[in-house]
Symmetry: C2
Amino acid sequence: MSLLVVGSVAFDAIETPFGKTDKIVGGAASYIALASSYFTQNVNLVAVVGDDFPNDFISHLNTHGVNTEGLQVKEGEKSFFWSGKYHTDMNTRDTLTTELNVLGNFDPIIPDSYQNCDYLMLGNLTPKVQQTVIERLTKRPKLIVMDTMNFWMEIAMDDLRKTISMVDVLTINDEEARQLSGEYSLVKAAAKIQEMGPKYLIIKKGENGALLFHGKHIFFAPALPLEEVFDPTGAGDTFAGGFIGYLAKTNDISFDNMKNAIIYGSAMASFCVERFGTERIVNLSNDELKIRISEFKHLVKFDL
Amino acid sequence: MSLLVVGSVAFDAIETPFGKTDKIVGGAASYIALASSYFTQNVNLVAVVGDDFPNDFISHLNTHGVNTEGLQVKEGEKSFFWSGKYHTDMNTRDTLTTELNVLGNFDPIIPDSYQNCDYLMLGNLTPKVQQTVIERLTKRPKLIVMDTMNFWMEIAMDDLRKTISMVDVLTINDEEARQLSGEYSLVKAAAKIQEMGPKYLIIKKGENGALLFHGKHIFFAPALPLEEVFDPTGAGDTFAGGFIGYLAKTNDISFDNMKNAIIYGSAMASFCVERFGTERIVNLSNDELKIRISEFKHLVKFDL
């Protein structure tokens, strides 16, 4: 099934306790498109970059089967840039620089060939832009998944609430679920957030796994315990890409199949954090993915 | 199979965001003995209290099938007392008072009838006292499980390392695993700690579940997402009690059966936190436990 991915395609400069990068390619949609491309060859990207963005990476996306017709390249402008530094625990980070550049006035134009998409993944972006994308689709996709972050809760809560009310699945982390709902208990938070619109809520807990809520049903997916978490940047986006990619491939949006999709998302994320940026997820083999899925199965299997 | 439980039997005064208690019965061995009594009727307790300790609770332990022949009651002395206050996140707490009292010079006398026990659970105590218990057993138990805490890492590391080297299973939380090993990655920490002696390591992560490490094998048990965590006091001890109780009942110390034991331990702990102190685990029904185990199964079940 066809998948539309919208989000940032950008530059990051990352510092972790293990090392430091110069400007490397990042952005939510880069991770989502790459991760989902392991599941479906019908990925359509809507994003914006400046003329400083490397053609190599765009070609690379195309090699992965990602359609970049909807990737706008703004002449004379610069790509979005973020730099940050992770603390020892890798769960917290300081933002050092945010340069919006082309993202400041991003108008998400949907090419005609992208219309009638079956699945829509809205990567973290201004809620208003996410909403515009939904409104510009002539037919509502079978499933709309939306990622967001605390930043928008602080500066654009009304827009955010409106956009959230229009989607089927919301993915946020535990702190964001608490902030959005005003509830400390994640079970209570999940109930309140489902009342805001999304029938499904995924709460990402980083190295502590992820929870899927749907009505009274709860599914928990662990994160794979790793020898080393090298760089967590993009892990949440890679998770989302694996999740929606698997759903688009199987074209089954039942709660049971969403569980499988979350395991695939978690597996993709477990690769992502093993290297800087997109380095680890640009060239995964089917066998590597198969082995990792099997590790997830063993990790939680018991015979009661 | 017979189980020997050693640890504190004491008073706690607890403050959480939900309320506050006067002095109530607590102590690691109280929780362990109660939790394990749901699995085996052959639980033998070694502990010490003052003459201020309520006979009611001792009778209650007896009703649960716990043998209290090894519970020393010191005339004219006071029981161990701890008071603490939990923060909103329930994962951190401040200790307000610690009065060692009878625990200050606890000599763990093992009644003859307790000898030849099959399983030994060493609740959190001075490492030297834990070691003395092992030395006083005429026959080494089939399995020795030991709990400890960061406090002993700070003031008695040499004793602690010695005691750890004598046990089969060590249970600590994630921060303690990091402190003990000097490794941030829990996978690396687990490898180092296994080199110290224990062939099995359980890392407790509170609301984020628990990990069991054995060589290259890893098992992850989730915590049940709860509407409300009312009071986390004793959750780790209750977990340990369910774990060792299930092993003593089934008399199977294979890695696969330890997985099941961890699920039972997690289920017992999920009850414990629903009320203050031991309130919730003194009168559980078999049906309640069965339903909760089924909830754990559904929580992590997927069909890949």
